[in-house]
Symmetry: C2
Subunit: 136 residues, 2 copies
Amino acid sequence: MKDTDDKLTNRNIKPTAMRELVLDILTEQKMAISLSDLEQKFHKSDKVTLYRTLKTFEEKKLIHSIDDGTGAVKYALCKESCQCHPEDLHVHFFCLKCQHTFCLSDIPIPSINLPVNFSIENINMVVKGVCSSCND
Amino acid sequence: MKDTDDKLTNRNIKPTAMRELVLDILTEQKMAISLSDLEQKFHKSDKVTLYRTLKTFEEKKLIHSIDDGTGAVKYALCKESCQCHPEDLHVHFFCLKCQHTFCLSDIPIPSINLPVNFSIENINMVVKGVCSSCND
DNA sequence: AAGTTTATGCAACTGAGTTGCAAACTAATC
DNA sequence: GATTAGTTTGCAACTCAGTTGCATAAACTT
């Protein structure tokens, strides 16, 4: 638990049992998960608590949210150094076959030349297609 | 109405009064609009009919949908030639100040080198920031 | 005109996200 | 270690976007 604890305190999040549990679940995921996915990992749980936990994590930049167009926002862990600035962002992939959403952490979002006088704060880029596991 | 009619029939959509009206409204928009935005442009209207109209338009590639992360999907007209293939797609912009969503029709979505064995079908790219009108 | 297909309108529902409030817990102080 | 103040959790209840089923109306077919 020490490690999980540190990750929380490093991000200025008071480590409660609930939050450690949620962080552990998020850590073992290979893909981004939604609030209701998360809810189903608990036998007995309260959606609202999980909701607020995710909000807190996101606010403190421990996780980031991905709007993959499925109607449910997905969440995934940020890298240790991530500040969620445009230059920290990466592309996400949604597989139309297995319906999973992944971080393509190695693929930064290409920079865009916006029209004059537009300023940029954030970018969401989701590629949809078929992932390698489903393409065999 | 002749022109509106043609746009519908060109896309294989049977031109009804309702559909002409919706297409006209969409045509005069400078920004993408949501279902409920559209609903409010009618004094008396049925959400479901508008919903199905938009679905039909989207299916026939007369309009495209934009998931800007606000929780309500927005819609905007496609170019005449658009087939909604990856190469037809452009970047969208959401202004954090005026809360409007625009097509940046002139900015194509940059191509991405996906990992091996990933195939691509579609891309959604939304840049968030402040638009030129709000940046004065 | 009768029959078939398509579009529209109404009611009702689902599911994600959210708020308010009270109880439980934690941390800080005496 | 009891008292208080602040934070977190759990429950109920609600909002709002999107959606389905079904009945009526309109448009096409012969």
